[in-house]
């Protein structure tokens, strides 16, 4: 299933991760901490997605909006940019009671999370001083 944003691929121009933020966390605290943080994020988001999914299925506007909002906070903290953008879009759609588009965006959120999980599984594998992509962000 795919979603669109003004006819463009969704969401337009937003990378998966802010690699710079992850590097900063590793530098400011430690690599071990970053690995722990990522593990916490993945398990926490997985749980929140389940609740969000239930709320959307049951068309519970307030709950669904609150879960989508909370997801954004977690994603923003770690620099998981695209997941955050999709969650934000979902919150907006839910608040408009646009359930058709909400279902599609929820599905996009799920697939984005699967992608994020895969990307984040490599965190901690490369040395701390390994060069980052020029943009500082992972595609």
């Amino acid at each position: 299933m795919s979603a669109t944003w003004g006819g463009q691929s969704f969401p337009p121009g937003v990378p998966t991760l802010n690699q710079h933020r992850l590097d900063m966390i590793e530098r400011d605290v430690s690599r071990e901490f970053l690995i722990e943080l990522v593990a916490l994020f993945v398990s926490d988001v997985a749980l929140r997605l389940e609740r969000l999914s239930d709320a959307v299925k049951l068309r519970e506007t307030a709950k669904a909006a609150a879960f989508a909002h909370a997801l954004q906070g977690a994603a923003a903290s770690l620099g998981v940019l695209r997941l955050r953008a999709v969650a934000q879009r979902l919150e907006e759609l839910v608040e408009k009671d646009d359930w058709g588009a909400s279902d599609a965006t929820l599905a996009r959120l799920m697939s984005e999370f699967a992608h994020v999980r895969s990307v984040l599984s490599t965190v901690g594998e490369q040395p701390a001083d390994a060069p980052s992509p020029p943009s500082g962000e992972k595609p």
Partner: protein, 486 residues
């Protein structure tokens, strides 16, 4: 999760560079990832972190009181405002940093209006977070310090004696504290009207001699010929008019404190007797032969530069070293204008009991005029001004028009000085009586010398005793004139 406190690793290099590891940050955040990251940043900067994941965990918290709180405004079902309210109820001075999503800036503004110290938007930047927390901790320490000082002052040796809580008065309070318990010879230095006698009384009533008497003698107000008799007493028949034996100040102050006010005005003969008395700890009444032991704490006071008087040969150096062991300088009112509003309130309250007035305060213009005045007569002059203004005031607020004319004027003290001199003879069509003229000249001399009779006498070209006589005849009090610009 409910709550737990975590400490940074003391081996962490970041721990060593941090200023204050005693600071505790309450972190209220329902998102586990954000909370874990924020906690790590704060710990790496040396803070102890108390974590709370809900409004309930804050409500049920029993841990140590935080220095600062970081509160996420979007706390699930509960508003961060509820948490702010709870934290504030427990600690009204707690600086609270609110954290909110970018698009909820309006909420952050509302939080600031509700008294939040700062706000951060998500995703929180580490440096911004640590800067804000550091500043909040500094502010907290400052607030705590001010409160401690206020509390110190409220229970300090000058409580109920000297009014004012500014820096100068706090320093004075600290100095008095240092000497209060011992019998060290204290010399209070300060201009006329700065409260030297009040401080002397505070030293007496706060120390171990509080149950004994407090006796004050103003050496400037007693002619040289009577000083010895006043201080040391006299036997019956010691001199003409000594119809009975009379105890002097030393004997009356036995077991207590004797204030030798304006000690710089003491005659050389009396200085010699005083020195002997201090050395021997006994007094011999004028006309007597018996040595009477006295146990008295001596506090002296002067508006003069006593060291300068020694250098000029007018004050005995050996006596100077006996009397001035611990000098305490009292600040003039012009150096503590921040205390004027408190003093005004104090005097209005004091006058309420005597004058039954309805005055509640001063207008901003009147207060401004008081702040600009140089106050040569210090607090005593201010009390006099407030008394006169209360009598002139017909409403509940003393306005500029109710103040004495010299305070209403926008002219400088130098202008007023010139003007006063020109007015000495009155207007062209006015004849001033010789008595009035003499009174004005004496008043001016006293004002210029800030109430020093000796120096005023010199300016007037007469002897000190003559001036004392004229003051009595003309019903002029030197202390009062020295502080009022007539």
């Amino acid at each position: 999760m409910t709550q737990h406190a975590t400490n940074p690793d003391a081996n962490d290099p970041a721990f060593e560079i941090l200023p204050n590891t005693a600071d505790v940050v309450a972190l209220v955040e329902d998102d586990a990832t954000t909370r874990m990251l924020t906690r790590a940043w704060l710990q790496s900067a040396g803070y102890t972190v108390l974590e709370y994941d809900s409004e309930r965990s804050v409500r049920e918290a029993t841990g140590p009181a935080p220095t600062v709180a970081c509160v996420d405004l979007g706390l699930g079902e509960h508003s961060g405002f509820d948490v702010i309210k709870q934290l504030r109820e427990r600690d009204a001075e707690l600086p609270i940093i609110v954290v909110t999503a970018e698009r909820e800036v309006d909420t952050a503004v509302a939080a600031m209006r509700a008294g939040a110290y700062d706000y951060l938007t998500k995703p929180v930047d580490r440096d911004r977070l640590l800067l804000s927390v550091r500043r909040a901790c500094e502010r907290r320490r400052l607030v705590d310090r001010v409160k401690n000082l206020q509390s110190e002052l409220a229970t300090g040796p000058l409580t109920g004696t000297v009014v004012g809580a500014g820096g100068a008065m706090r320093e004075l309070s600290r100095q008095v504290e240092r000497v209060i318990e011992s019998d060290v010879a204290v010399c209070l230095l300060g201009e006329s009207g700065t409260g030297k006698e009040l401080v002397a009384r505070a030293i007496h009533s706060g120390g171990p001699r509080r149950s004994g008497p407090f006796v004050a003698i103003n050496c400037a107000a007693i002619p040289a010929s009577l000083q010895e008799s006043e201080l040391f007493g006299h036997e019956r028949g010691a001199f003409t008019g000594a119809t009975q034996t009379r105890l002097g100040c030393f004997e009356r102050a036995r077991g207590g404190t004797l204030l030798l006010d304006e000690v710089g005005e003491m005659s050389p003969a009396t200085q010699a007797v005083l020195l002997r008395t201090l050395q021997e700890r006994t007094v011999r009444r004028v006309g007597g032969s018996q040595e009477v032991p006295v146990d008295v704490r001596i506090v002296c006071a002067t508006h003069r530069d006593l060291r300068g008087e020694v250098d000029a040969g007018r004050f005995r150096e050996d006596l100077y070293f006996r009397l001035v062991v611990y000098p305490i300088q009292l600040p003039p009112l012009r150096d503590r204008v921040e205390d004027i509003p408190t003093l005004v309130t104090h005097f209005l309250e004091k006058l309420r009991g005597r004058a039954q007035h309805a005055v509640r305060g001063l207008s901003a213009e009147a207060l401004d005029a008081l702040a600009r005045h140089p106050w040569p007569g210090n607090v005593r002059e201010l009390e006099n001004v407030i008394h006169r203004s209360v009598l002139a005031c017909r409403g509940q607020e003393i306005g500029l028009a109710d103040l004495p004319p010299d305070l209403r004027s926008t002219s400088t003290p130098a202008d007023r000085e010139r003007q006063t001199g020109e007015d000495l003879l009155g207007d062209d069509d006015q004849v001033v009586t010789l008595r009035e003229l003499e009174q004005r000249a004496i008043r001016k001399a006293l004002r210029l010398t800030r109430g020093s009779v000796g120096r005023a006498a010199k300016l007037l070209g007469i002897g000190r005793a003559t001036l004392y006589r004229r003051l009595a005849e003309l019903d002029v009090a030197p202390e009062a004139v020295g502080r009022i610009v007539a």
